[in-house]
Every structure is written in structure tokens, then in C-alpha cells.
């Protein structure tokens, strides 16, 4: 019997009217069977004419006789497929003019010497052969890349990158009245003096917010240069606390009300934590960068299912708290920007919570670094820096970012002290009627545990406070729905089944917040040592001794070509050895962005 739909009225698939598929929708495609020229490729021995050769990535472990099959793919010399077949990924083709190409244009504009109107009065110029010009161009490029001249390096940076970079760094935000300036004690630059605290703010930057973002991520990275230790304090976005001058609000709203300055002041006045610098990251920047490098190829370790993924990028104009469902198939596959972000951000996709998430992040980082390790990345550096523009801002100067990231790269990730102020440091509650966010689900800080914890992590001593309520020390804080069970003070991160700082205004299914019966210790199935594609053993030279100015004064000027060139020189010189280190500072900026996106320092 034929299927019912063969005979009866049909419900035609309305292709055009379907909503786009998250992360995969490429729009209507045109089938071009037989159209266009089949791109030719270097011919290997015994190979079929024109068929592309196997790229040089792998070699079979069963080498067979040449020409066993009438095709040269296996036995022919490697020729990267990318040279022959345009994949057309987003961002492909953006690049800098090659030296040779420039020379060609000059020759054409000059015209043939024989047509010189001055005729025989001028000696006929002998044009240099093409091969000679290519060699010279290559040598010039080589000299520049090898750091043959700080001026050349600096010129490259200034010409191609400084515009974007300058819109990212040195973005000073004046401190509010009543806010202290801890930078006044930093007389010799970052990491050369006392402890520094950096407020890492992360916002979804979708157009639904129309430029009025809130900060879903509020992390304080605290660095003690003398002891070479780093701590990372994550404060849940829904912490219901006093926002100076605006009463009780969720912490994430402080950024929406008063931007960086108010977020910074809130942290300082409510918890006594001085903030030296800030860095703000927009999630769409990650998507743009991944797309810029053509996506990443990742072996998805297991099926990713999540019914409560925050739908906070893309087009979702009316509901900033929308949810999205995820289903990512397991196995090796190509992920574009949105899919890669989903893969690394999902907190509900496995039982091992943040550990599983960390493993996924490392996979994507490794894949991204593989893309960045391609020398062709120089053609995209300017575009990548441009992608970061508008999605990453900091009041640190570029040399400070470079030094900070070099410092972080030298750390043992396993020794970074991480503390999330989830349960038992806080508990679920409801904002009281009559005030801001009335009736909304909020997170109530547990000051008895928070104060000793931040005292220890940030070495605050008696400066650690918990002034989370308006006017006093917690008397007006609404009662939590559940009473937290105080535990012994500890700086170890409690591991709820799903981290409580998942952006969610709508409460999720009760199961996600229910007590978890299973252990969440580190599973042994994953290798925790992810190979690093960047050199991490050779710290970059600290090339500048320019004193840091207080952020309330004129920001320091790092336009000095010698300083930047010195910072860049080692990294650029290592490009030709296959080790792209800092990419004129863009790598450090990328890492800063990834720290905010992944809410982790483990991005190197």
C-alpha cells in the first residue's frame, strides 16, 4: 500500500517560509551541476587529469601501488585542496595585497617603455623578469617578517591593524564620584607592582538590546604578580544587590544602567573589591571571529542536547531571555560561528557540567588555533581585528594586554583558583514586591560565606564587605526561597549540577536546579592536557617600562613604535617556523575575548 501522503491531499513543505536553522542555514542554494570550470590541479603520477590531489594532512597507512585506481589523489605529491577549490566560507578572500601583485599593477601603469613619448632620448629600461621580482618581493616579506626592522613591523601594524586595535584598547571609563582609583598605586605598569583586579564583563550583543546591553558575565580576575597566582571570581548575574544610586537590582542590570563605571562601582562598594581595569566582551565577537577563519572542524564527543540554551544571539528582538533548543550530532563536523558558540556554551549537555563544558571549549580553541596557525592568517589579521572592534573594549593599553596574556599563558591552568558564588554562597529567591525587579527570580548572596571567601582569594583583609542591601548590611534583603546551608568556608568552587550563572530569567525545568544525586568529579575519560598550538614556554619580553597612568588621568600613550615593535618582533619572527605567536597583538586580544566568552582563563 502506498504511503498515505502519496494519494491524499498533501502538506507541501514550505521551504521559503521555514525559519532558518540555527547555525546551519545557508539560505536557498543554487545547484550548479556542471557549471563553471572544473579547477585544474597539479597532476600526480598516474593521476586522473584535473582531479585535485590529496592535501598534505595525512598519509595512508596502506600505501598501494601507483595508479591502482586511475586517479592520482593518493600517490601524487600533496597539493592543498584550498588552492584549487574555493570553499567560500565566510570571510574567505579578505586579504592584503601581495607584494607580487602590487608590482604587477605598477608595471601596467607604467606602460611599455617603447611608448615613452620622450622616445630615444631616454635609455630603454630593462624590465626585471617576473621571477626576479617575485624573489625580491619574497625576500622583502621575509625581512619584514623576521623582524629585520622594527620600523617595518611597526609600519605594518600601524597601516593594517592600529585602527581596529586602538578602538579596543585604551578605552578609559571615568570613575564615578565616590569610586576609588586603585591604579594610583600602580606606578610601574601592570604585573610589576601589587595585585591587580580586572573586571571581565560579558554581554550578548544581539540587536535586540539596541545597544543597551546588560552584563550576563561578571568575573573578577585577580592577579598577584609577586606570588605568580591568579584567581577568578564569578559572580552570578542575578545577584540581587545594591546598585549605588539606583537601589536593589540584579547585578547584570548595573551594566545596563550605568555601563562599565556603574558595574565597577557596584563591585567595589558592595564587596570591597577594587577594580584596576575592565574588559568588556560581546558574544557576537566570537561568532564573527570563528566565521572569519572559515569555521572550525571539531569532533563532537557525544550528542549535545539542551532544552534551555540561552537564545541571546541572532535575531530574537523581543525576548532577551528566550530559550533555544540544541541538538548537535556527535562526530567530526564543521561548525560555523553560531554552532561553535552553542557547542562551547551549553551547560546542560552532559552530566559533568562545567568540566564537560571546559573540554568542549578546549576542542574549539584547539581548532581555532589550528586555523590561526596557517600562515595565510596574515591575510585575515586585519579582518579579525576588525571583527573584535565593537565586541571587545578595555581600558588596558595593548602592551598591558600582551603582558597579561603572556603571564596567563605561563600559568598552570590547574592552579588557577576559581570560585563561583553559586550555592552555598548564594541561593534562589524572589525580588520583593514594590521594588525593582519585583517578583523576578533572583539570586540572594550568602554574606556569611562570601566575605571570608573573597578575603582569602583577593587578599582583601578587612576591606572585604558584603554591603549588598540598600542602606545597611543585608537587613532588607528578601528572604530566599530556600535556606542555604552554611558550610565551612572554602575557596574551592562548589560544583552544582549546572552552574547557577546560566543566563535564565525564565526558570528552567525543575530538574536542572534540583539537587544532583551524582558525583561531579573530574571524569577520567578525557585527556586534560590539550595540545597547545602556540608556544607557551617562551614568555614575550616585557618591552615597556612606561609607567601606567591612573585611569582618571590621561591614558598612557603607547604609540611608540619601538615598544610595540619590540613586543611584536619575537612573535612575528616565529611565524616562518610555523609558530604564530602573537600576531601583532591580535592573539592576545583574541585570548582576552575568549576569556570573557568562555568565562575561563583556560583559553591558551
Amino acid at each position: 500500500m502506498p504511503p498515505a501522503y502519496q494519494n491524499g491531499p498533501q502538506s507541501p513543505v514550505s521551504f521559503a517560509g521555514r525559519p532558518g536553522m540555527g547555525g546551519m542555514g545557508n539560505g536557498p542554494q543554487m545547484f550548479a551541476l556542471g557549471q563553471g570550470q572544473y579547477p585544474g590541479a597539479p597532476q600526480g603520477p598516474g593521476g586522473a587529469p584535473g582531479f585535485p590531489q590529496q592535501g598534505g594532512y595525512n598519509s595512508f597507512n596502506q600505501p598501494g601501488p601507483n595508479g591502482l585506481f586511475s586517479m592520482g589523489a593518493v600517490n601524487a605529491p600533496p597539493a592543498p585542496l584550498a588552492d584549487t577549490f574555493e570553499r567560500g566560507r565566510a570571510g574567505a578572500g579578505t586579504g592584503l595585497p601581495a607584494t607580487g601583485a602590487q608590482g604587477y599593477r605598477e608595471r601596467r601603469s607604467d606602460g611599455p617603455p617603447s611608448r615613452d613619448p620622450r622616445g630615444g632620448k631616454h635609455k630603454k629600461k630593462r624590465r626585471m623578469p617576473l621571477w626576479a621580482r617575485l624573489v625580491i618581493g619574497f625576500l622583502i616579506t621575509l625581512i619584514v617578517l623576521l623582524g629585520g626592522g622594527a620600523a617595518a613591523t611597526y609600519a605594518y601594524y600601524q597601516f593594517y591593524l592600529s585602527g581596529s586595535v586602538n578602538s579596543i584598547v585604551n578605552q578609559q571609563v571615568a570613575r564615578n564620584s565616590g569610586e576609588g582609583d586603585p591604579n594610583s598605586s600602580l606606578t610601574n605598569g601592570i604585573l610589576t607592582g601589587p595585585r591587580v583586579n580586572i573586571l571581565l564583563l560579558g554581554s550578548d550583543t544581539d540587536q535586540k538590546f539596541q545597544g543597551k546591553f546588560i552584563a550576563q558575565t561578571d568575573i573578577i580576575v585577580t592577579i598577584d604578580p609577586s606570588s605568580h597566582t591568579v584567581g577568578m571570581l564569578s559572580i552570578p548575574r542575578d545577584f540581587f544587590i545594591n546598585v549605588p544610586g539606583y537601589g536593589m537590582h540584579k547585578l547584570d542590570e548595573a551594566y545596563g544602567i550605568g555601563g562599565v563605571a556603574l558595574s565597577r562601582m557596584t563591585i567595589e562598594q558592595d564587596f570591597g573589591i577594587p577594580i584596576n581595569y575592565y574588559a568588556w566582551v560581546g558574544l557576537d565577537g566570537f561568532i564573527k571571529v570563528i566565521n572569519e577563519v572559515g569555521g572550525v572542524d571539531v569532533d563532537v564527543l557525544h550528542p549535545i542536547v539542551d532544552d534551555n540554551y540561552p537564545d541571546d544571539v541572532g535575531k530574537n528582538a523581543n525576548n532577551p531571555y528566550a530559550l533555544k533548543r540544541l541538538y548537535l550530532a556527535p562526530g567530526p563536523q564543521h561548525l560555523d560561528g553560531p554552532s561553535a558558540l552553542e557547542y562551547v556554551r551549553s551547560r546542560h549537555a552532559d552530566l559533568v557540567g562545567d568540566f564537560g563544558r571546559s573540554v568542549r571549549q578546549q576542542q574549539v580553541l584547539t581548532a581555532l588555533k589550528t586555523r590561526l596557525a596557517n600562515p595565510d592568517i596574515f591575510n585575515k589579521l586585519s579582518a579579525i581585528a576588525g571583527d573584535l572592534k565593537g565586541y571587545l573594549t578595555t581600558d588596558m593599553a595593548l602592551p598591558d594586554v600582551l603582558k597579561l596574556m603572556n603571564f596567563a599563558r605561563s600559568l598552570d591552568p590547574g592552579k588557577i583558583d576559581k570560585l563561583t558564588l553559586g550555592p552555598p554562597y548564594s541561593s534562589s529567591g524572589t525580588a520583593p514586591a514594590g521594588g525593582n525587579d519585583a517578583g523576578a527570580d533572583v539570586v540572594i548572596p550568602n554574606c556569611d560565606l562570601i566575605v571570608p571567601a573573597i578575603q582569602k582569594m583577593l587578599q582583601l583583609g578587612s576591606k572585604a564587605v558584603c554591603n549588598i542591601a540598600t542602606g545597611d548590611n543585608g537587613n532588607s534583603v528578601p528572604q530566599p526561597l530556600t535556606t542555604p546551608t552554611p558550610q565551612a568556608s572554602s575557596t574551592s568552587t562548589p560544583q552544582p549540577p549546572y552552574a547557577p550563572d546560566t543566563p535564565q530569567a525564565h526558570p528552567t525545568s525543575p530538574s536542572w536546579n534540583a539537587p544532583w544525586p551524582y558525583a561531579t568529579s573530574t571524569p577520567s575519560v578525557y585527556a586534560t592536557s590539550t595540545p597547545h598550538f602556540y608556544a607557551t614556554s617562551t614568555p614575550q619580553p616585557e618591552a615597556t617600562s612606561t609607567p601606567q597612568a591612573s585611569s582618571t588621568s590621561t591614558p598612557p600613550t603607547y604609540a611608540d613604535g619601538d615598544n610595540l615593535a619590540a613586543l611584536f618582533s619575537d612573535s612575528t619572527g616565529s611565524v616562518l617556523s610555523g609558530n604564530l605567536a602573537n600576531l601583532f597583538g591580535v592573539q592576545s586580544l583574541l585570548e582576552l575575548m575568549l576569556m570573557g566568552t568562555f568565562e575561563s582563563t583556560d583559553v591558551f
Binding site: 498533501q10 546551519m24 542555514g25 586522473a48 587529469p49 590529496q54 594532512y57 567560500g88 556527535p330
Partner: protein
């Protein structure tokens, strides 16, 4: 004059030779491009600025159904390669045994549809739609969206297996008070796709569920699938194994079996690979006697083959003796075919003498073919050098189907 004429002559001569040489090279190039001569290659594009994939049609017989840029294609060795569905959201094609239909999945933001299209093209038909909506339940947000994935046909074409989370709200009692989001295996009759799906294979909670379900050729009462779960001792270590099962056991014994984690769930599945290796993507040989699969560990991924376990193992699930017996074929008779970066998604040729798979080469996933040979003990190995079928990239997460 002479001098000038000589110069002109010489110029003409030079021009002629270089032009001839150029034309000859151009002709050779065009010949290769157009598939004239000894090679039969097809260029498949997916629109301006999109992916362009070339297919070497000389190196295989029959047809491949696969997706490129999430559009459905059929690649043919007889120069009839074509695009069947171009909605840009297609995954998981599966061809009916009679070769008339392709079942596939169309994936949207919140859900997916199980659809079917004729192998000769035309309009696609939705068999089951996963469309739904979010709705509040007290203070909590639930939804009625459903995922469908990986359809697979029974040998007679009457039944479709598929993966879904369609019972996600139904198993709170057995899944630690949580919706069963993990994908489980269900079946529907092809001629009545709106019928209530039958439960075929349950998932364990928490690691994504089952994948790669398919019937065993020649055995109407056996299926195979990949099962993702966590170990029963710590609930932190992934266990990724192949399971076999009688697809009718659950539906014939209502109320007996239920999903859950190891030690809490109870289902008729029986593992045919051990817990200490990650085995995924099983593919039965056309005669149902062998299973190709992908073995994954921390350092590499390989393509291997094992004989199918004895027929009777699915008749007595949850029996310790049977469980031991089911593992023996893997432990004693598996054979290694090749190890390559991201080798995946094996598919046997219709005559069982070749195997196709995806490899990651040149920054893209592409289709390759290897000839197989079998020794006296029945173990498989690759004969000669594998050959590349596509260049430019196919969708790695969506398996290929090889038909006559």
C-alpha cells in the same frame, strides 16, 4: 624590407609556436575540467560564493546519497549526479530498499522534521513534524518541540526507525526527575507515519542518547545502534558502545522496560562492544554478517570491522551469560582497516567488496573508497590504496548511503 620582413616572420613564427603550445595546454586543461577523455568528473556547486565540490565519478559504481552544505545530493557513476533537496537544512539521508525514496531530516532552529522525497527528485513530504511551542508550567518553561534524526529503513521498506526526544516529558519518574532529552529509537510504519511511534531502544540519561540505529540485513528482529551513557560507578566517565536489540521487545512487553541510567533503567539492549573503548557509527555489511565501525580514543580514530555476534543474543537480554557471549565477536575477531584523521561514517558497497567513508583532508570532510579483501579466517583488510571520490567538502556529520 627584408630585414623587416624577417623580423615579422620571426615574430609570426614565435607567436605561432607559443600560441600552439598554449592552446595545447589549454585543451588539456579543459579536457580535464569537462571530464572529456579518461576521467569522468563532475563539479557540484552550491550557489555563488558557496561550496564547490568535485566528484570523481570514475571510481565508484552505483550511487551515493549524501549532503553538501546541508542540501541533499545523489552522486552517480553514470554522470547523472544531481541535487534532490536544496533547502540548506538537510541531514541524515536514508534510501528505501526498493530505491524509490529517500527519508531525511530537515533541521530548524527549535525542532526538526522527518521527511521523504523521491529518489528521482520532486517535492519533499513531511512524515512527522517536530514543530511545537514554548509554554509555561507554573514558574517553569516547557516546550512541545521535538527533534527527529537519522531515519533508517527496515529490509522490506515497511518500517522506519528514527531517533527522537518525543517522550521527553513522559519519563520523569525514571530519569531522576528530569525530562528525557536524550534521543531514543522509535519506529513508525511508512504507510502510516502519523501512527503512534513504537518505543524501540531506550536511552540512558545525560549523555545525549542513542545514534546510528539501523536494521540488520536479513534479520527483521535485530537492530544495532550506538549508545552514549555514563558509567554506573561514578556517573562521570563516558561509555560509548554498540548495542543490539530486538526492535519489538519493548512494544510487545508494555510496562516491563523503561529508560534510565545504568543500574536504574531496564531495557532489552545488549552491548556488543566493551566499555573501555569508544565505538560509534556501526554499519552492517549487505549480508548482515559483518559490522564496520569507528573506534575512537584520545590519540586517533580508526575504521575497523567485526563479525556480527550470534543471532540469539537479542533473544535473552539482561542475562549475564548472553552479555559475555555478545562481546566475544568484538574481542576475538575484530580487524583493523585504517587509521586516519577523523575517519567516519562507513558505508558498504552494495556488493560488500568496498567500503566508503569520510576523511578529513585539506580542511574538509570528503568521501573516500577502499577495496576490501578477506583472509581465510574471515578478517577484512584494505586492498590497495583508497581513492578519493569528492573534493571540496561534504557534511561530515551526515552519513552517506551507497546504493546500486
Amino acid at each position: 624590407m627584408y630585414s623587416r620582413g624577417k623580423i615579422q616572420f620571426m615574430k609570426r613564427t614565435t607567436f605561432s609556436w607559443s600560441t600552439l603550445l598554449l592552446l595545447a595546454l589549454l585543451a588539456l586543461s579543459v579536457q580535464g575540467c569537462l571530464g572529456i577523455g579518461g576521467s569522468n568528473q563532475k563539479s557540484i556547486g552550491t550557489g555563488s560564493g558557496g561550496q564547490q565540490v568535485s566528484v570523481n565519478q570514475d571510481v565508484f559504481k552505483g550511487k551515493f546519497y549524501l549532503t553538501i552544505s546541508h542540501n541533499l545530493y545523489v552522486l552517480s557513476g553514470n554522470n547523472t549526479s544531481q541535487e534532490l533537496v536544496n533547502t540548506g537544512n538537510v541531514v541524515d539521508p536514508a534510501v528505501s530498499p526498493d530505491g524509490k525514496w529517500v527519508a531525511f531530516i530537515q533541521k530548524y532552529k527549535q525542532y526538526s522534521d522527518l521527511s521523504v522525497v523521491s529518489t528521482s527528485g520532486g517535492r519533499a513530504h513531511v512524515l512527522r513534524s517536530g514543530a511545537g511551542k514554548f509554554y509555561p508550567v507554573g514558574p517553569f518553561m516547557h516546550n512541545s518541540f521535538v527533534w527527529y534524526a537519522q531515519p533508517a529503513w527496515s529490509a522490506d521498506g515497511s518500517t522506519l526507525l528514527f531517533l527522537s526526544d518525543l517522550e521527553k516529558e513522559d519519563w520523569y519518574a525514571h530519569t531522576t526527575d528530569a525530562p528525557m532529552l536524550d534521543m531514543q529509537v522509535f519506529s513508525i510504519p511508512f504507510n502510516n507515519p502519523q501512527a503512534t511511534p513504537k518505543d524501540v531502544a531506550y536511552a540512558s540519561f545525560g549523555d545525549g542518547g542513542n545514534r546510528d540505529a539501523s536494521y540488520r540485513p536479513g534479520h527483521t528482529n535485530q537492530i544495532i545502534y550506538t549508545h552514549y551513557t555514563y558509567d554506573s560507578a561514578t556517573r562521570t566517565k563516558q561509555e560509548i558502545q554498540l548495542f543490539m536489540e530486538n526492535p519489538t521487545t519493548i512494544s510487545k512487553h508494555p510496562g516491563v522496560y523503561y529508560p534510565g541510567m545504568p543500574g536504574t533503567g531496564f531495557d532489552p539492549g545488549i552491548a556488543i562492544t566493551p566499555t573501555n573503548v569508544e565505538i560509534i557509527e556501526p554499519a552492517f555489511s549487505p549480508d548482515g554478517s559483518s559490522i564496520a565501525y569507528v573506534k575512537r580514543n584520545a590519540t586517533n580514530i580508526s575504521l575497523d570491522v567485526m563479525p556480527a555476534p550470534p543471532d540469539n543474543i537479542t533473544a535473552t537480554p539482561n542475562d549475564p551469560k548472553t552479555e559475555q557471549q555478545a562481546l566475544q565477536a568484538y574481542q576475538t575477531q575484530s580487524s583493523h582497516l585504517l587509521t586516519q584523521l577523523y575517519v567516519q561514517e562507513p558505508a558498504w558497497s552494495p556488493d560488500g567488496t568496498q567500503i566508503a567513508y569520510f576523511l578529513y583532508t585539506g580542511n574538509s570532510f570528503d568521501l573516500w573508497i577502499a577495496n576490501l579483501t578477506r583472509d581465510a579466517a574471515g578478517k577484512y583488510s584494505v586492498k590497495g590504496s583508497p581513492v578519493q571520490v569528492t573534493s571540496g567538502g561534504v557534511d561530515g556529520e551526515s552519513h552517506p548511503v551507497w546504493t546500486n
